[in-house]
Symmetry: C2
């Protein structure tokens, strides 16, 4: 009687379990992996023993040996906007879908909110030896860094814009087309004094602005006004309120760079007694689930986030398997609701 059977001593590693079972560690390892190499009886005996003691092999050690971590890094680079927050609804919506797709495939998720202060931030993540692959949500202003790393690090997929000739694999919508659609929608609504609300540092948003310009040009209108806005939700509200205050009725159509911005804009307009869409038309971008639940419901450009997330994950798996996966550019779609 070596132990109180009612309160079994905690077992810390397979060696202890092996001693308890009177076999070698190798056998325990194989037994717990349910390999047919070990006798069915011993195998089940060891598994029962492990269960009885609540023993589970150390994953860190296993993964070190296996050289495969089953962990994917999901990284949000906040280059141009240090105060932007992970709680941004777009990040979160896409993160939710990524989480679904990854967990379904047996992968865990390591989340990093990175403020790229050191210029090797991405190398540090990619090189940590803890990740089988990396998903970047947004290119921010880190295009060069991403390209540099993509030259030698394959299992990485980025949500964002695809520039001709770029190395890194992106999934995203045709942002320029999206901006164009928004512009057309506003113009069809009879708007002529357009503005873009957002900021054009990240390639994605720049493309949206350019698309809006295309639409304006095609209709013979001057280039839309650019209303720069911080993306951090706390300052965003102030920025937008200030813009609305300043522009008054110089503008009659606002293409917002995101649904969140659009919602804030509608709110700020309401505060000043300006009606949407009667006085001013507003379009969003993203088609977050929320866009349909606001009052008035948001007219917006759909990014089909769920599809995009799946595309990112499957491209990543391709690349992990060693195959090349091309960038995916999805077609944006105008979702006409109440604001434009």
């Amino acid at each position: 009687m070596s132990d109180t059977p009612s309160a079994p001593a905690r077992i810390r590693n397979i060696a202890e379990l092996a001693r308890l079972a009177g076999v070698s560690t190798g056998t325990v390892s194989r037994a717990l992996a349910d390999k047919s190499l070990v006798n069915k009886d011993t195998r089940e005996r060891i598994q029962a023993l492990a269960r009885a003691h609540g023993f589970r092999p150390n994953q860190m050690a296993r993964r070190l040996r296996i050289q495969e971590t089953k962990v994917i890094g999901v990284v949000v680079p906040l280059g141009h906007e240090q105060r932007q927050h992970l709680s941004d609804p777009f990040f979160m919506a896409i993160l939710g879908h990524l989480a679904d797709a990854l967990t379904e495939n047996g992968y865990d998720i390591m989340l990093s909110r990175v403020i790229p202060d050191a210029d090797d931030w991405l190398e540090r993540i990619v090189d940590s030896g803890m990740l089988d692959g990396v998903l970047l949500i947004g290119q921010s202003n880190q295009f060069e860094t991403i390209e540099r790393v993509a030259q030698w690090y394959r299992p990485m997929v980025v949500w964002g814009s695809h520039r001709p000739g770029q190395i890194h694999c992106t999934v995203g919508v045709d942002n320029r087309k999206g901006g164009h659609l928004a512009g057309e929608c506003l113009i069809r609504a009879g708007r002529t004094r357009l503005a873009f609300m957002g900021e054009a540092v990240a390639p994605e948003l720049k493309d949206r602005y350019d698309g809006l310009c295309d639409a304006a040009a095609a209709a013979g209108l001057p280039p839309p006004l650019k209303l720069d806005t911080h993306l951090a939700s706390d300052v965003m509200a102030e920025d937008i309120a200030a813009h609305i205050h300043r522009i008054g009725t110089d503008v009659d159509g606002i293409a917002a760079a995101s649904d969140l911005i659009a919602m804030h804009a509608v709110r700020a307009l309401a505060d000043r007694g300006i009606r949407v869409p009667e006085d001013i038309s507003v379009t969003g971008f993203d088609d977050l689930p929320l866009a349909e639940q606001t009052i008035p419901r948001l007219t917006t450009i759909s990014q089909s986030i769920a599809v995009g997330a799946r595309a990112m994950v499957s491209a990543l798996f391709e690349r992990i398997a060693g195959n090349d996966a091309a960038s995916v550019e999805m077609a944006p779609q105008l979702i006409r609701r109440d604001t434009a």
Copy 2:
């Protein structure tokens, strides 16, 4: 000339770097850790070499040896609501703040969305050997499981309700009080036919309902109607629309279990031409940043998510350090805006 200097061979471990530098692996390890035990010159020489080759030590191996992972698991148990999604704005808001607090302290985040099918889901996470601690967002219907694990696993903090005598450490608001506040607000607005919209399986939400009952009882009103609603955002909208359709004007005050539910309710009421707050009053719960940006702006019960997240993290660090940290119950606050 053994190597092309322009394209240095990739170095995979400290042993290779050691050979390159003509020292032992121990010295390299200490040099990279910047320990004074190795001569300043050699130290800098090795560091320069590492930098030149873009070498970074394997974290998996390091952490295995150190027995400290600097990773915290953030887990959302979806016990009662399999289809609830990570993109739930409340999860995401709190996750954002947790991410801030944890990354500031040098910890990474491992995200798990768990559908507790196997009853040892929490043991599996806690025991993986990959985590220094665990934060649970919500108790779901897993109270017993959490208690069981908390008996032997210390570094765990849970967002949720505190029941007298419970072992696991929670941070949260006094949900019953919150429900009470919501009830009082509705009653002060002259509402007498109250309803609770949500579902009372998770302890947090049950408490909110009980608090609402308290307020009703104190005002001599019958117990509020219970309108069960799925928490998965896709079905939630339908559920709510159905409820609104069914109750018509039998109800004149709705206390929603969350801001998201409240927003959907306001939307569904608007669809049926019922005005908020003229015809029906609605209160939310959480005070998400969005609640202030809706039209009409949401009257809600504040959870001060940011403060709560900080409290969770600091309690967790206490427990990692081996100290006991007591549960925290914050006072909810009524935020009066436009819907009640």
